[in-house]
Symmetry: C2
Subunit: 307 residues, 2 copies
Amino acid sequence: MKVTVLTGGVGGAKLVLGLTSLLPADRITAIVNTGDDCVHLGLPVSPDIDTLLYTLAGRFDQERGWGRTGETWSFMAALRELGGPGWFNLGDGDLALHVLRLAAFARGDSLSEVTAFFARAFGLAATILPMSDDRVATMIETDEGRLNFQEYFVGRKCAPTLRGVSFAGAEFARPGPGVLDAIAGADRILVAPSNPWLSVDPILAVPGLRDALAAAPAPVIAVSPLIAGRAVKGPTAKLMAELGLPLSNASIANHYAGLIDGLLIDSGDDAEGISIPVARTATLMRSLDDRKRVAGAALDLAGAVAT
Amino acid sequence: MKVTVLTGGVGGAKLVLGLTSLLPADRITAIVNTGDDCVHLGLPVSPDIDTLLYTLAGRFDQERGWGRTGETWSFMAALRELGGPGWFNLGDGDLALHVLRLAAFARGDSLSEVTAFFARAFGLAATILPMSDDRVATMIETDEGRLNFQEYFVGRKCAPTLRGVSFAGAEFARPGPGVLDAIAGADRILVAPSNPWLSVDPILAVPGLRDALAAAPAPVIAVSPLIAGRAVKGPTAKLMAELGLPLSNASIANHYAGLIDGLLIDSGDDAEGISIPVARTATLMRSLDDRKRVAGAALDLAGAVAT
């Protein structure tokens, strides 16, 4: 069985990690959001790809919630002393990925190629595909003006009121190598409990991707990022309120209408107003067992809607 | 009194540091070799400029002989784990300079501008001028083929037999902003005890610089890098032997013929075959007092030949 997951950052990486406990990793393909990617101080940073790499490699710092375990911070200390920008933290070890990516780009390698190189170097058997090798930048329209994703998310900690989201460059972007095949050829497709507007929509904004998902023969199951009307992490609930959307799983189902065949929601939540099949499990993913359970429940729902 | 120093790496930085103990730092200008500069993994590295910055800022790791004090190495560990090149060490704190330089270049700043920015950030009053903002690459012809400076010096630890040295791009390079004025307007000019062929010649290879030095109204004093026919550090003696040159201060004086008005040599050395004024002091610079003494002796010799 081949499983393809559309995923953003931390929550999505947990789901993919759960999947690796349930089936051989070489059957798993992650299509990863790159709308958060930025060039910081000239270094190309791919936060969601790196979060997935670190998570699958057992290097993700779960306590901090980002970056790698055992990290040191000499670079940032030296940078701040020199008057460099201190708002975007880059750990010393983490820099190795950004610098190797810079060097790879300089010799003409694509993001897909350098991502595959990193996955191999970390000994990962899962396939990690950037949604596109072309530049797509998630831009946040706020009451304080237009911000790029990192300015909004890291720099302003999502404080400005969000008015809308757009994906600069998306109209010219092509799906990354293997992305359309991973959707068309999958036996199961999952949409991770990542932020639908900020982390999954950039993937769907790449021309051809939404249509491929809608046309996919495999059942498509989304895992809701909401629990009891709140987001586990990040700005999902605040964003939904600012967009005037009810904080309900029905809003999630509506957002993915025409794309998904089922929605996995938290055990305690109701399915009011949802017209597609729903399954429930405790969707909070703290332990590896939690991740396995959520991944398993999503696959079970996919199996149920497929029959 | 305004003093200008032509300098390469570690030995030159020690001399400049000695000068700062003898006169106000804002009277000192260092014209620094950039022939060792390289782009490693996409990062622009300027070893001699950074050695001077770290030395004057009290951050140079004297025990290791390069890089900065209190350095950590998480970046290199992560880089090696990912299969990146491990032969060229970049410390975590040191990376801040290379990354800020990358960002500065990306927004169109010159090497002179970013060097001045670093000097200010470190609180340095001395003027640090790259010999050129244009790319000049010191290339070593060896019995194993042509190597760039870092491949020869760091990668091969100067093991291949040297056949010659050239400076790629030098014919198109312009002196950095302020460089010709610092030579023409100096009251004293010193040539640091850096390797004449590898560290000072690249400076002299920048069109206009050699002529400016020859025409300078100020006395020009070189400090010999040899002590008892040996080099304190680095490949000077090996290089001289490979070029078929006697390991004598006369070889140094000949090399700078027409440019220098006096040569400072070690107390124990003879001045056989040298036709310009010579002074002696213990030229080994271990302590700050040593650096002051050598700088003072060089300035004294300059004063003597000026009268």
